[in-house]
C-alpha cells in the first residue's frame, strides 16, 4: 500500500462541468435510495450482519473484489506503476490470484460449514475465546482507524483534484455511508460495492483504450518507455534476480514468498473485510465460486490501474516525481498520474463518471470497513464480553448504532490525521502487523488437527509482536532494513514483504511448539473446523463447467500465461 501521508500537493487538477456534477449527484441519490429500499430487508441478525446469506456467486464475488478496489488503491498503484513500472502488477497477480483460489478451494469449506459470522468467530470455534478476543479487538481497532484514514485521504484527493472543501467531503461521504449501512446493513454495503464495480470500469476504461491509441499500441508503448526510462519498467520477472536490478529494490524471493505466499494469503483469506462478502453467499458452491469470479476480474484490474501509470510514462509531457520533490517544485507527484490521465482523455460527462468512480471507490471502501467493524464488535466483542443473552432484535439495534458510532470514530480519526499527517503511515503499518500472523494461525487451525487452543493464541500473539518489533527496529534504525530484508540494497517495499514472512514463520513455529507442549482439542470438537475431520460436501449434479475446480483451472492457466507473456 502507498504511504498516504505523501499523496497530496496543493494543485487543482480538473474542472468539472454541470453535466459532471450531475453525474456525481446522481450517484449519491442512487446509493441513498438503495439504502432506504433495503431497510425493510434488514430486520434480523442474519439479514443485517450476513445479508441473509443469500448472495449469488456473482454478487458475492464482485463485492469481494470491490471491497479491495478502493480509490486509494487505484490512485496509489497507478502511481506505483509510474514509479516502478509493470512490477506493480505483482500486487494484482501473484499477490492476489493464488490466495483467492486457495481461499475458494481449501479454506472456504471450513469457514462456510462452521457457519461462523466472522474470522474471529472461526478462531473462537477452533482455538477458544482468548484467540477470538485478541483478533477481534485488533481487527475492530484497526478497521475503524483505517476507515478514518481513508476518509481523510478521500477528502484530500477531492480537494486537490476538484478543489472541494475538506469538511464538506468528510461529512457528506460519512453521513451517506452511515445512512445506507445503518439502514440496510451488509446487504446495502454489498449492493453498493457491486454498483461501484461497474462505475469503476465504466469510468476508468477509457483511459487505457484512448491511451493505447495515442501511444500507438503496446509495442510502441514499451519502446517509448524503454527510450525515456529503462527496459526494466516493462518486465515483470526478468529484473527480479537481485535487489539492485529493478526499480522496486526487491528480489523474487520477497515477491514469491513474502507477497505471494504470506501477505496476499493473509489479506485475501483472513481479512474479515473481504471474507465477510463471501460468507454472505447462499450456498457452499456459490461461496467457492465467488473468490474464483473475483480472481478472474482481479487479473483484469491492471488494465485500468497499471496501464494508465505506464501510459503516463510514455505520453505525459511532464516528469512526475516523489511527494517531497513535488511539494518543493510545485510539480506533480506519482500519485497524480491517474487524475492527470483522466483529465487528459476524458471530456464532459466522462470526467464526471471517472470522478464518480473514485468517490464510489472511497465510499464503498469505507462502508466495507464499517460493516465489518459492526459485525466483529457486535458478535465477537459485545456479545461474548458484555451482553451474552440479549435478543436478536437487540443485536440488530446494536449493529445499527455501532455503524453510526463507527462512522463517527472514523470522522474523529480523519480530523486527527488532519492535525498529525504522520498518523496515516502508522495506521497503515498497524494493519500489516496483524494480517500475516493471523494467516498462520487460521491456516494451521484448518489444516493441522494437533494445533491446540494455547498454541493458536500464543502463535498469534508472538507473530504480531515480532512484526511490531521488526517495524520499530527499522523505524529507529533505518540501516536495520539490511537484516530484515537480507540485503543492503533492499528498499521500503521489500521490508513489508520480509517482515510479513518472518512474522508468519514466528507464528507458525510458536504455534507448533506450544501445541506440542499442551493438550490438544478432542477430535469431536474439531468436526466442521479442521481438514481430515470434516466431511466437505461435494458439488454434485452439476455440469463440469459449473464446478469451482473447473473455473479455478481456467483462472490458473490464464494467470500463468499472463506471467509468461509479460516476463
Amino acid at each position: 500500500m502507498m504511504p498516504l501521508a505523501a499523496m497530496f500537493v496543493e494543485t487543482r487538477l480538473v474542472h468539472m462541468s454541470a453535466i459532471d456534477i450531475a453525474i456525481v449527484a446522481f450517484y449519491f441519490i442512487l446509493v441513498l435510495a438503495i439504502g432506504f429500499y433495503l431497510k425493510g430487508q434488514a430486520n434480523t441478525g442474519e439479514d443485517f450482519f450476513m445479508a441473509g446469506r443469500e448472495m449469488t456467486s456473482w454478487v458475492a464475488g464482485l463485492s469481494f473484489l470491490s471491497a479491495n478496489l478502493g480509490a486509494l488503491e487505484l490512485m496509489g498503484w497507478a502511481g506505483s506503476a509510474y514509479q516502478y513500472g509493470i512490477l506493480a502488477t505483482h500486487w494484482y497477480w501473484i499477490g492476489a490470484i493464488p490466495a483467492m483460489l486457495f481461499l475458494a478451494l481449501v479454506m472456504m469449506p471450513f469457514y462456510y460449514i462452521s457457519k461462523t459470522h466472522s474470522v474471529p468467530g472461526y478462531l473462537n470455534l477452533r482455538f477458544g475465546e482468548p484467540s477470538r478476543i485478541l483478533s477481534a479487538v485488533c481487527f475492530a481497532f484497526m478497521t475503524v482507524l483505517m476507515s478514518g484514514v481513508n476518509m481523510f485521504a478521500m477528502a484530500k484527493v477531492m480537494q486537490i483534484v476538484l478543489g472541494w472543501d475538506l469538511n464538506f467531503s468528510i461529512w457528506i461521504s460519512s453521513l451517506t455511508v452511515a445512512i445506507y449501512v445503518a439502514l440496510g446493513g451488509l446487504r446495502s454495503a454489498i449492493f453498493n460495492e457491486v454498483l461501484q464495480f461497474f462505475l469503476i470500469w465504466a469510468g476508468a476504461l477509457m483511459i487505457p483504450v484512448l491511451g493505447l491509441y495515442e501511444a500507438g499500441g503496446w509495442t510502441n508503448l514499451k519502446a517509448e518507455i524503454a527510450h525515456r526510462f529503462s527496459t526494466q519498467y516493462v518486465h515483470l520477472w526478468s529484473g527480479l534476480g537481485h535487489f539492485s536490478s529493478n526499480p522496486m529494490g526487491i528480489n523474487w524471493v520477497g515477491i514469491v514468498f513474502g507477497l505471494g505466499a504470506v501477505i496476499s494469503m493473509g489479506y485475501w483469506t483472513t481479512d474479515f473485510l473481504v471474507v465477510q462478502r463471501i460468507l454472505a453467499a447462499k450456498d457452499l458452491r456459490s461461496a467457492e465460486m465467488a473468490p474464483i469470479i473475483g480472481a478472474g476480474f482481479k487479473m483484469l484490474v491492471p488494465l485500468i490501474v497499471i496501464l494508465p501509470g505506464l501510459l503516463g510514462l510514455a505520453v505525459l509531457p511532464m516528469h512526475l516525481t516523489g511527494e517531497a520533490q513535488a511539494a518543493v517544485t510545485g510539480g506533480h507527484s506519482y500519485n497524480d498520474v491517474l487524475p492527470l490521465m483522466l483529465a487528459r482523455y476524458c471530456g464532459p460527462g466522462l470526467l464526471g463518471l471517472g470522478i464518480t468512480a473514485l468517490i464510489a471507490g472511497f465510499m464503498s471502501g469505507m462502508a466495507g470497513n464499517v460493516s465489518a467493524f459492526t459485525t466483529v464488535w457486535t458478535y465477537d466483542i459485545y456479545r461474548p464480553l458484555i451482553n451474552k443473552r440479549a435478543t436478536d432484535a437487540h443485536y440488530v439495534s446494536m449493529g445499527r448504532w455501532t455503524t453510526v458510532i463507527g462512522v463517527l470514530i472514523s470522522v474523529g480519526t480523519a480530523y486527527l490525521v488532519m492535525q498529525f499527517a504522520s498518523i496515516m503511515d502508522y495506521v497503515q503499518a498497524l494493519f500489516s502487523f496483524f494480517i500475516a500472523p493471523l494467516f498462520g494461525t487460521v491456516i494451521l487451525g484448518m489444516l493441522w488437527r494437533r494445533a491446540s487452543n494455547w498454541g493458536g493464541f500464543w502463535g498469534l500473539l508472538c507473530g504480531t509482536i515480532s512484526s511490531v518489533g521488526m517495524w520499530t527496529w527499522v523505524k529507529l534504525d533505518p540501516t536495520a532494513l539490511r537484516y530484515v530484508a537480507l540485503s543492503p540494497d533492499a528498499k521500503g517495499l521489500a521490508q513489508d514483504m520480509y517482515q510479513a514472512l518472518w512474522s508468519f514463520l514466528v507464528c507458525v513455529i510458536v504455534t507448533v511448539v506450544v501445541s506440542l507442549m499442551t493438550k490438544p482439542k478432542p477430535a469431536a470438537e474439531l468436526n466442521g473446523l479442521v481438514m481430515g475431520l470434516t466431511e466437505v460436501p461435494h458439488v454434485e449434479n452439476v455440469a463440469f463447467y459449473q464446478k469451482p475446480i473447473f473455473w479455478a483451472g481456467i483462472v490458473t492457466a490464464v494467470f500463468i500465461a499472463l506471467n509468461i507473456i509479460f516476463w
Binding site: 453525474i23 484512448l210 491509441y213 487528459r344 460527462g349 466522462l350
Partner: protein, 68 residues
C-alpha cells in the same frame, strides 16, 4: 425484491444518457480549444451511447416481474 442488477442498469442508463448528451453537444457545437487530447474521436459520445444501451438492456432484463 428488486434485483441488484436493476440498480446497475439504472445507473448505467442515466449516466450513459448524460454522457451521450454531452458528447452529442460537443459534436454539434465543438469547442474552439478542446481540453482533451484525441477530441476528434468523440469518446464521450460513443462510450456514453454504449453505457446507455447496456443500461437499457439491464433495466429491461431485470425489471421487477409481476407475481400472482
Amino acid at each position: 425484491m428488486i434485483s441488484i442488477w436493476l440498480f446497475i442498469g439504472i445507473s448505467l442508463l442515466v449516466n450513459g444518457a448524460l454522457i451521450l448528451g454531452a458528447g452529442i453537444k460537443q459534436i454539434l457545437y465543438p469547442p474552439a480549444n478542446p481540453t482533451v487530447v484525441l477530441f476528434s474521436l468523440h469518446a464521450n459520445a460513443w462510450w456514453g451511447g454504449f453505457l446507455f444501451l447496456l443500461g437499457l438492456f439491464y433495466c429491461i432484463h431485470f425489471r421487477p416481474k409481476r407475481t400472482h
